[in-house]
């Protein structure tokens, strides 16, 4: 069975780390661990845009993995983009191993609002579970309360829950069962 490697590229409080780990393990139903792997994302920085190219970060993260059944998700403090979009909250390789989530636009301060640390943690948990769902091959869900519902503005993240709807849960379990069967013994 594989493992989810959670890789924060910033200082995160112990309490938040515990919350994030617990939520991921409970919702994604896959063993997870917070790790401190060596990863320098500067290669993905675009000087003109002042943002990091998230697809390139995913390729970099992918190269860090040794086992095909493992997943890796990076939590980054900086703003992410893909070439055609002005920004993304995060990105994942659909049915692949790597995902990334940015805290940059999850903080109320970005929108000129006073800080609300608890809300940022909630948003981080939802976006992390969302992106990890994609790595198991799940697509966006039309159910507004499902964690896999697409969010293109930050309030949309607040509207959905951090859990999968019954349909997405079933799809996730099916995808994981398939991976367990395919995984080499030992």
């Amino acid at each position: 069975m594989g493992q989810i490697h959670i890789l924060p590229l910033l200082e995160i409080k112990a309490e938040t780390r515990a919350q994030l780990l617990e939520a991921i393990e409970q919702q994604v139903q896959w063993p997870a661990a917070i790790e401190a792997l060596e990863f320098d994302p500067r290669f993905a920085y675009d000087q003109i845009r002042g943002q990091y190219h998230s697809s390139q970060i995913l390729l970099g993260l992918h190269s860090k993995l040794n086992r095909p059944q493992d997943k890796i998700i990076a939590i980054v403090p900086f703003d992410l983009y893909i070439p055609i979009l002005t920004y993304v909250f995060g990105e994942a390789q659909l049915d692949g191993p790597a995902a990334v989530v940015s805290l940059f636009r999850l903080r109320p301060e970005f929108y000129g609002l006073p800080p609300v640390p608890a809300r940022v943690v909630e948003r981080l948990i939802k976006e992390s579970i969302h992106e990890l769902g994609h790595t198991f091959g799940l697509r966006h869900c039309p159910q507004p309360e499902c964690v896999l519902h697409a969010s293109t503005y930050v309030e949309e993240i607040d509207l959905k829950s951090h859990t999968f709807c019954p349909d997405c849960s079933a799809l996730l379990q099916a995808a994981q069962a398939k991976r367990r069967t395919a995984a080499p013994a030992g």
């Binding site: 979009l85 994942a92 697409a150």
Partner: protein
């Protein structure tokens, strides 16, 4: 509805790749093309609902591709992607029929909204098509009733001619449903979302008919207190149905011919030329060939309108449809009269079948309506019908009623009316000249 398909056309690999992933996560079917040629090939291979098209590409640019796309697939929703906030380019692409444009790089929320709106439009479009189709079926199934080979043949002709813009002449006895057929042609045609305007030419005096057809200006004649559009104008882009065309005066025939040839006219009392785009359907219960032969109907107008003819069989020639029609009218009047007569007794049905129906379907409908008023549930009885069996006893037959005698008299009549012009007579009779000569010889007809 199946998943919406999106084709991304952009020469930049990174754009194609990131949009491909973005839409795939959203559950869309996604395709990519790096230039216009790949896009056209993709369009030939499969159906695409939405195309995201980069305006600036090497080779054939997005504008040119958009024009070509429209020739292949008119329904595709095209969203233009441009790296330049150029109003000119955006306006040009919208003029060419693009759904919207978006400036690179996109705000993900804007892109998401645009695609959702486009998907909504697609859904509405499909819903609209389905509704129109069901409406069309309802309209037809409600109005044209019959399963006899004769009526099936008529419906086949309706389907065939509806696809064209040809003028149609519907011929049939009074009450056979000529207007229903005209409406069926209109309903099946490309013009169905525009009006069908019906004019009964036989019911109006010449002066009234002229103003009815062409409209009039204020003060054109006494009583013309305001400008009024005529039926030709009202039927613009739709269908004009002229019933009883065989009854119009020589002057109106000339006017009509002029309008049909030029597709333009002026209102009565006016001098402004009005252009119209109409499809003409005429109906008559007269023998137009005879009318041409005796000079009461202009030959040039006859040829102008007689492009496609649909002959409606009288009810007595499709008696197998009588039960179906009768039950249809029973249902109709049960609803409108709030009655519960569900059946026709075998004796009453026997009467209905044996009656000769000179007034055709209209007479049958009237007979059923009357029976529904006077009759009692559960079934219509013979005494509820407005005719009795005695009336049905055929008149004594004469030896002169033989087909050969009828043919001889008819050929003689046409030859006389056409001043023994063999070509014209043969044309009117619908036979070739050699056959006509043979018939003349056979029946020993002489000038």
């Amino acid at each position: 509805m199946s998943a919406i398909s999106i084709l991304i056309v952009d020469d930049e690999e990174s754009v194609r790749h990131s949009l491909f992933n973005w839409f795939r996560e959203d559950g869309y079917e996604v395709g990519i093309a790096k230039d216009a040629y790949e896009a056209l090939a993709a369009l030939e291979r499969s159906h695409w609902d939405i195309m995201l098209l980069d305006i600036r590409m090497p080779g054939m640019d997005g504008m040119e591709l958009q024009r070509r796309m429209r020739e292949v697939n008119k329904e595709i929703i095209i969203i233009i992607m441009t790296a330049y906030a150029s109003v000119d380019t955006a306006v040009s692409s919208l003029k060419e029929g693009a759904y919207d444009y978006i400036v690179k790089p996109f705000n993900p929320d804007d892109l998401s909204h645009m695609i959702r709106n486009a998907a909504e439009q697609l859904n509405l479009r499909h819903e609209n098509i389905e509704l129109k189709q069901s409406l069309q079926q309802v309209a037809l199934s409600d109005e044209i009733i019959g399963e006899s080979p004769q009526i099936r043949r008529v419906m086949e002709l309706v389907q065939t001619v509806a696809q064209s813009d040809s003028t149609v002449v519907i011929r049939g006895e009074s009450g056979t449903g000529k207007e229903l057929i005209a409406r069926a042609i209109h309903t099946h045609s490309e013009r169905r979302y525009h009006p069908i305007i019906a004019v009964n030419c036989g019911a109006l005096a010449e002066s009234l008919l002229e103003s009815e057809l062409f409209g009039h200006e204020k003060g054109a004649f006494t009583g013309a207190q305001m400008r009024r559009k005529g039926k030709f104008e009202m039927a613009d882009k739709g269908t004009l149905f002229l019933d009883e065309i065989g009854n119009i005066s020589q002057k109106m025939q000339m006017e009509l011919l002029r309008v049909l040839e030029s597709r333009q006219f002026t209102r009565v009392g006016g001098n402004q030329t009005i252009h119209v785009d109409i499809r003409l359907i005429c109906a008559t219960n007269k023998n137009l060939e005879m009318a041409v032969a005796d000079g009461s109907f202009r030959e040039d107008l006859y040829y102008r309108i007689n492009v496609f003819t649909i002959g409606l069989p009288p009810l007595r020639e499709r008696k197998s449809d009588i039960p179906l029609l009768a039950y249809h009218f029973i249902n109709k009047y049960n609803q409108s009269m709030n009655k519960s007569i569900k059946d026709i007794s075998p004796q009453a049905m026997d009467l209905l079948i044996r009656h000769q129906w000179p007034g055709n379907v209209r007479e049958l409908e009237n007979a059923i309506e009357r029976a529904m008023v006077v009759g009692k549930p559960p079934a219509i009885q013979p005494h509820d019908l407005p005719f009795q069996l005695a009336e049905e006893v055929p008149e004594r037959l004469e030896s002169s009623d033989s087909l050969a005698e009828m043919e001889k008299h008819h050929i003689a009549l046409i030859l006389r009316k056409a001043n023994w012009n063999i070509s014209r007579s043969a044309r009117i009779l619908g036979i070739d000249r050699v056959t006509l000569y043979n018939k003349i010889k056979k029946y020993q007809l002489k000038e």
